[in-house]
Amino acid sequence: MLLETIGLTKHFGGLAAVSKVDMSIEQGQIVGLIGPNGAGKTTLINLISGFMQPTSGRILFDGEEVTGKKPHLLARMGIGRTFQITPLFREFTTFKNLVASFYLSADRSLWGSILNTPRYRKKEANILKEVEENMELVGLSKVRDELAKNLPHGYQKVLDLAEALAISPKLLLLDEPMGGMSQEETDLALRAIKRVHAKGTTILLVEHNVSIVMGLCQRIIVINYGEKIADGSPEEVRNNKEVVRAYFGGGYAA
């Protein structure tokens, strides 16, 4: 089991954004996390990646207790993530964004950088090679020298995804990676996600577009009002009465 949450709960004042969620993700899976607006999907991602602290409950990653750890430590353990609003380095080009991310993930040595040691220079060369490979993998080579702020929305999101790969994540949390994209951009993102998954990365995908999730994921978790209401294969989820009620209102389920 790569990721396991036990009774994970997050309250904002009186509101339970996430309530007693038990879920587990196995190595190599690509799992969809769906639910209506405000169901608590992003909060769940924020809890797992350490950007929010849970009110109660536990999180286990790779068999280790990681509840309450800071985001950067979780990132170093191999939990990567993207954001709904892409936090790119806006004044850098695509290439430099990736270089920055890969630099950031490599170990830093103050003395190495001041003295410019041969070992330090060799590491730099390796990083540049990795950047080129990853840019190719997600299909961003053609916008290599564009400034991030000038990229179309979809490309920015794919760039965010590519940057998340810098830490060589074991688990990648994707928060609406295809939100607000055109068809062409959606295809680019889908291709990128499939390739990243094919390389062996476990993925938890939050997405509004149910048909995309149905096509992409082997397993789907549905939450509503912070609670898990369904967990299973796309078939099972599609036929689950509670899911239908959550999405289409009570009248349809009857």
């Binding site: 990646s49 950007f51 950067h72 990132a75 950088s113 830490i167």
Partner: protein
């Protein structure tokens, strides 16, 4: 390629000028050059803090800690300034790390406000312990490095400044510097890539404080007199003015800014009293016409000459 060669030649020319210059200069101008060296170090060390997304309004306080620690040790314990200046810089670094733990949790304007009060606190506390620090009247008769001859100071500070600038340049243009800049641009992206945001802010502050402390120590053992007012809020703000008007986007920005703005009051002769107005005017002109700072002036001039009017508008529209 041509550009690179031009750059190399101008650097060599500058170094030769700096090395041979003092042989032909009057002592008064040597003094100005020495002061410029000291403030170039401080302004450049402020840049290291600045690129990590922290606009400090109390950077001169680190100069004060370096200066006071070094001066008090040298005066009361009769240690050689050669040891006390580094000790002062270490004291300054230690304080930066200490306040870094709470301060690094603050972002943007909240950090600036906290640093402002830190600066005020440091200079006030120097004033409150008159037995040791001489109080608000200052500390007199600090042992000097080389007595009253200015030439040795000039060469020592020249070499130190160049060395420190080299170190700061390496820090900024390395993975560490990239980390600082990324924390400033997007703390979300940085921390989800495994960067300890607070830790990197503290590291940047510590590096900045160390070199500000060195500069403070040099100042104390060159001038021979220090008082809290020399390291007050006004000095901190002037440092920011040097940084911004010189060019906040470039390593050479604070250097150029310091050289020009520090020297202006002295070359204005009888109009010295109007220097603040002049500096304010320069600052406003730079913000409107040269958002990239004074270092972008040559390039801007060229573009204005080519397309009158257009370059100017572009500069104003730029974010």
């Amino acid at each position: 390629m041509k550009n690179k060669r031009f750059k190399a030649f101008s650097v060599i020319g500058l170094v030769v000028l700096l090395l041979l210059g003092p042989l032909f200069l009057e002592s008064y101008y040597l003094h100005l050059a020495i002061m410029v060296f000291i403030y170039v170090i401080v302004a450049s060390s402020l840049r290291t803090v600045y690129i990590s997304g922290q606009l400090s309004l109390g950077h001169a306080a680190f100069m004060a800690i370096g200066a006071y620690t070094s001066a008090v040790l040298a005066k009361t314990l009769h240690w050689s300034p050669w040891y006390t200046v580094p000790l002062g810089a270490l004291a300054s670094t230690a304080v930066a790390i200490g306040i870094g733990f709470p301060f690094s949790r603050l972002r943007a304007i909240y950090f600036s406000m906290a640093s402002l009060f830190f600066g005020i606190m440091v200079t006030s506390s120097a004033g409150l312990a008159p037995g040791l620090t001489g109080g608000f009247n200052g500390l007199h008769a600090i042992p000097r490095l080389f007595g009253f001859v200015r030439m040795p100071y000039y060469y020592l500070f020249l070499v130190s400044t160049l060395l420190i600038l080299l170190i700061l340049y390496r820090v900024e243009h390395s993975r560490i510097g990239m980390t600082f800049k990324s924390v400033a641009q997007s703390h979300l992206a940085a921390s989800s890539r495994g960067i300890n945001e607070g830790g990197m802010r503290i590291l940047a502050s510590a590096i900045g404080a160390f070199f500000a402390g060195i500069a403070g120590g040099c100042y104390a053992h060159y001038v021979g007199f220090i008082a809290p007012a020399q390291f007050g809020v006004m000095t901190s703000i002037l440092l920011i003015v040097y940084l911004i008007t010189g060019g906040k986007g470039s390593f050479t920005g604070p250097i150029v800014g310091t050289v020009i703005l520090y020297l202006t009051p002295y070359i204005m002769g009888g109009f010295q009293g109007y220097a603040p107005f002049f500096q304010a005017g320069v600052l406003i002109a730079v913000i409107f016409l040269l958002p990239e700072g004074m270092i972008s002036l040559p390039g801007q001039l060229m573009s204005w000459l080519r397309k009158p009017g257009e370059g100017r508008r572009a500069a104003i529209d730029a974010p």
